[in-house]
Subunit: 218 residues, 2 copies
């Protein structure tokens, strides 16, 4: 399941998206109003978490803009502004929920679940490419109909590859995503990880682009 997180505070955005990814979501991060408004493919998001305080405009404008364009994706507002006027304005502008910072991650997750339940019921939470299907919620993987057993890191790596199937993923990017909190990791760790994943899904599924990175072939 894919989420869009709109949050200008880099530190908070990073912490949040890390925890969300840990919970099994694929998370995209937008940091400005313009970036958010021009985001492609909103319809494929399972939900949007929207911070109101943006550097170049008000999140409420983004919200109105989206709803005017018939974007029906569930939107959860996350903000420090907690007055009832703000809540009323946000909910009436088309938000589905309104959470005041600071908030426990557990509560946020519970509210997301409530959103999914109410919105689609059967969320289409699967990402597939090249005969491989990942279900981030159940955290299961299938290849050609058979179940795959993947460790946590392997699963995250494969998610990244499938998310960017066909594109070249530089080692630096992979390190960034896999070891966000600790950048001291040897680049060799990624090579080992890729090797282990290759052993499970087939050597030729991940091509090496010498000097640039890896590419998941569809």
């Amino acid at each position: 399941m894919r989420l869009l997180l709109v949050e200008d505070d880099v530190e908070l955005g990073r912490r949040l998206s890390d925890r969300l990814r840990g919970a099994g979501y694929a998370v995209d991060l937008a940091t400005t109003r313009v970036e958010a408004e021009l985001w492609p493919d909103l319809h494929h998001m399972a939900a949007i978490i929207l911070d109101l305080g943006l550097p170049d405009g008000d999140g409420m404008q983004v919200l109105s803009h989206w709803r005017a364009q018939r974007v029906e994706t569930p939107i959860l507002i996350l903000t420090a502004r907690g007055s009832w006027q703000d809540k009323v304005e946000g909910l009436n502008a088309g938000a589905d929920d309104f959470v005041v910072k600071p908030v426990r991650f557990e509560e946020l997750q519970a509210r997301l679940h409530a959103l999914f339940r109410r919105h689609g019921g059967r969320a289409d939470n699967a990402m597939c490419a090249g005969g491989i299907t990942l279900d981030p919620v159940a955290r299961t993987a299938m290849m050609d109909g058979a179940a795959l057993t993947l460790s946590k890191q392997e699963f995250r790596l494969l998610s990244l590859f499938i998310d960017h199937a066909g594109q070249i993923m530089p080692q630096a990017d992979l390190i960034e995503h896999l070891y966000a909190l600790d950048d001291s990791r040897d680049h060799n760790a990624v090579e080992v990880l890729v090797g282990r994943l290759r052993r499970k899904i087939g050597r030729d599924r991940i091509a090496t682009v010498r000097g640039l990175g890896y590419r998941f072939v569809k």
Copy 2:
């Protein structure tokens, strides 16, 4: 649009229902847990506003009771208890929103609107998965036609698993659900509990997802 308001405080109940009627709703008022649980025609309600503090029981019980009976009407919890544990528990028990008193009427109204906007089917609250059937009301369990003897905690745990069959349940979530009022519990308690449950329903019914939690396999 018809609403059911469950609220034991007569004064607040009257004020609220008056304003709601003023806003164009038809409002029914229940003041006790028993009255609420036996209310007919819940399916015809557009939404239910539920106060947790009831004289003869906990509103959470009413909520679970309804959801067990496949009442799919949107439910908004209205309560003075505002801890994040309460919110998580409420939302996971099947509530669609959670509002902490005191609250401005305008916010309540906006949240009701948001609830109506998200009309959609509720997903599985089926107490039935993988050959195991739970009856939350009678508190009985069956597996492959034979009766299961489960202790209280085992039953609650299995309910959680079945409620989220196929999904990963992090240990932290389980602790929150099982020991909501007392967070001092060792995570090992859950491991032991899972072990005991496994002995009764079969080792492989509950898969361990190392580092993330447990998953009930369907």
